[in-house]
């Protein structure tokens, strides 16, 4: 195998054969190492979340991939193929100019228009100091009421987009709430405050970033293209359908 080992001879056959073998072995090893290095890089650059979302989106049934314009009543039926990233939608501008017809008020739910809504049933409200406030939307509030206990992250901790933002219990059921965006927790509230978290978004509002999981919170990314959902979505009228794949039924009984 190597010079100095019994059986090795400095012949063309030995050199050629072992060179080929080592070339193949090195290629295989380099492939694995490369995949591992890229994985670590994706976690460092927070791209892992985007990849996870794209993978989960592909796993969603068609009924959970309904286009936001369908939810807003602008089109009768449409399925999203862009992981809810409206920047990559060729038909976005065509639909965005149509009037939204879905009025959540008709269903007895109140969705203020001064904030943005995530499919995980949270809302995000931009504050003047550059932070954002996060709370539960009307539907979740009606379903849960006053939770028995709330487990909020400590101020200063980081939360990731679409990962667990906080946990609650109600009637013995554990409920985890997905984060509508990533950033650092600067203050915590509670059910009585009407909001749960105050967050400083990780990325500078001026920094363009990929519109990944967001159905709504693109308003904060000033660098987004003019036709992206980030810059134009502000109606708050459409019922935000959850997009995260679920493994267990949501039950409060």
């Amino acid at each position: 195998m190597f010079p100095g080992i019994d059986g090795f001879h400095w012949t063309v056959a030995h050199i050629l054969f072992l060179s080929l073998f080592f070339a193949v072995a090195l290629t295989i090893a380099a492939t694995v190492i490369s995949a591992a290095w890229r994985t670590a890089r994706d976690f460092r650059t927070h791209r892992a979340t985007e990849l996870c979302w794209n993978s989960d989106f592909a796993d969603l049934p068609q009924s959970d991939r309904r286009c936001r314009h369908e939810l807003a009543g602008r089109v009768i039926s449409r399925t999203c193929d862009n992981a809810f990233d409206c920047r990559h939608c060729n038909q976005y501008s065509q639909f965005a100019v149509l009037p939204a017809r879905a009025m959540m008020h008709d269903l007895g739910l109140h969705y203020p228009q001064d904030r943005l809504y995530h499919r995980g049933h949270t809302w995000v409200h931009a504050e003047e100091d550059g932070t954002v406030t996060i709370g539960l939307d009307e539907l979740a509030h009606h379903l849960i009421g006053n939770p028995d206990s709330v487990n909020l992250p400590e101020p200063g901790s980081e939360i990731e987009l679409n990962q667990t933002a906080w946990r609650m219990t109600k009637n013995g059921n554990h409920i985890q709430v997905r984060a509508p965006l990533e950033g650092t927790v600067v203050a915590i509230g509670g059910p009585k405050d009407g909001w749960y978290l105050k967050l400083r978004p990780r990325l500078d509002p001026e920094t363009p970033r990929p519109c990944v999981t967001f159905f709504v919170v693109r308003k904060f990314t000033a660098g987004c293209p003019a036709n992206s959902s980030a810059c134009s979505y502000n109606s708050g009228r459409s019922m935000p359908r959850p997009a995260w794949p679920m493994e267990e039924p949501f039950s409060l009984t």
């Binding site: 080992i5 994985t39 993978s55 499919r119 049933h121 059921n173 554990h174 039950s251």
Partner: protein, 435 residues
């Protein structure tokens, strides 16, 4: 106490408490699978066979090859036939990868996962059985540390070992797509990144497979002391080197067809697009036609030039029963020319029954070829005082053989149940009943 996330998908997904599917959270979303007890019932006899095979293998490793009916004269038996057979049938893995990733034949993508799993099963089974045959598992590294670079077996060992690693790496992304495993972000991202590099692995796998398939054939072609197998060739490679490659890539797609059709039959579902079998059949048929032509030319050269020059008239090989001339006819015509025609002729290829029958014939052909080269080569006398040898495998050999078969069925069954092996078909009636 239920644990939920505050998202609405769960509101519509209320089937999880099905008592017959306690493993439902491991099953791909929207996939319809049979109940767990029924699945375990299906696995039970295979698990028993695998256990018997492991026991027999343990006997062979502990007591040595005296547990088999092989001896110094009949050194290749059922196990080597099994190795050659499954390695040829598993060639669909590298060849499909080559067609999809290198030649960009995207229409074959729906069968890629099956190809990888079948390849993994075949090669892991082959390496396992080789490990028993060679023995002394604690000294497995000797073959790498002290390689005999003039031996075709060294090339085979190196290539098969490396290719099994490649197949494992190709299998990992499929494995990590399991519904529960993908919940771990690190697994999911690693799967994504590894999947992006699979074309590199497909290229490496093609190179390795090309050489080890060829070297397995070359192994027989260089046996000067066995005129039945000895062949002339090109440079250092006897003609069997190229014939083995051709026959493997010709029957690999046919075997994939058969496996998929068998799974469709068992599960009563259509798993791949309707025209995919026809495409695979055409590829298989064309290559089989080329193989039959090359094999015929090779046989004529061997009968008229190679063998006589070694002092043997061709008829001498076929006077011992059951290895008469019909076996040559069956191998070339019935299991070669006929399936090649059926797979490529548009009328028979359009009929699923003909297509699958032809694929089965092609697979039988490659198995018969490996059997003849392994068993008939050693059974025939080569010296004046030699006798025609008889060999019947011992129960340990047969049980080990069965163990490999059971290993394949179990791995494939588990993969099918818990991994997204087949993408959902669009616009086709995909579901008939549970499986």
């Amino acid at each position: 106490m239920a644990s939920t996330a505050l998202t609405g998908s769960s509101l519509t997904d209320g089937n999880l408490s099905d008592k017959n599917l306690p493993d439902k959270k491991w099953i791909p979303r929207d996939a319809n699978r049979t109940s767990l007890p029924r699945f375990l019932l299906w696995l039970a006899p295979w698990a028993a066979l695998l256990a018997l095979g492991i026991y027999a293998a343990g006997l062979c490793l502990y007591y040595g090859l005296n547990q088999t009916n092989m001896d110094n004269r009949f050194a290749f038996g059922l196990w080597i036939f099994l190795d050659l057979g499954v390695i040829a049938l598993g060639a669909g893995a590298f060849f499909t990868g080559f067609l999809v990733y290198i030649l960009k034949r995207a229409e074959l993508r729906p069968i890629l996962n099956t190809a990888v799993v079948v390849g993994f099963i075949c090669y892991s089974g082959a390496v396992g059985i080789l490990g028993i045959d060679v023995g002394q598992p604690l000294r497995f590294w000797f073959t790498f540390w002290h390689p005999n670079t003039h031996s075709m077996l060294t090339e085979v060992t190196f290539c098969i070992s490396c290719y099994l690693v490649v197949l494992c790496l190709e299998y990992i992304p499929i494995l990590l797509r399991n519904r529960q495993l993908r919940k771990l972000p690190s697994f999911l991202v690693f799967e994504h990144q590894l999947h992006k590099l699979v074309p590199v692995l497909a290229g490496v796998g093609t190179l390795l497979s090309f050489f080890h398939q060829g070297s397995l054939g070359g192994l027989y072609g260089v046996l000067r002391g066995r005129p039945f197998a000895f062949r002339q060739g090109i440079f250092i490679w006897p003609s069997t080197f190229f014939l083995f490659i051709l026959s493997a890539i010709a029957t690999g797609p046919s075997f994939l067809m058969l496996v998929t059709a068998a799974v469709e039959r068992v599960t009563n579902k259509q798993l791949v697009p309707r025209d995919l079998f026809r495409r695979l059949g055409f590829i298989s048929g064309v290559l089989l036609g080329v193989y039959v032509a090359a094999k015929s030319i090779d046989t004529l050269i061997w009968l008229n030039i190679t063998s006589p020059s070694a002092g043997f008239a061709a008829w001498q090989y076929y006077i011992y029963k059951p290895f008469g001339t019909p076996i040559l006819f069956v191998e070339i015509v019935l299991f070669g020319l006929l399936p090649a025609f059926l797979l490529t002729y548009h009328r028979t290829a359009a009929h699923r029954g003909w297509l699958l029958s032809a694929a089965a014939l092609a697979c039988c052909g490659v198995l018969l070829n490996r059997f003849v080269l392994t068993v008939q080569t050693l059974a025939l006398p080569t010296l004046a005082f030699d006798e025609f040898l008889h060999y019947t495998p011992s129960w340990q050999e047969v049980a080990s053989f069965g163990g490999v078969l059971a290993w394949g069925v179990i791995v494939y069954s588990l993969s099918y149940r818990y991994l997204p092996m087949f993408a959902p078909l669009k616009g086709e009636d995909t579901h008939v009943s549970g499986d």
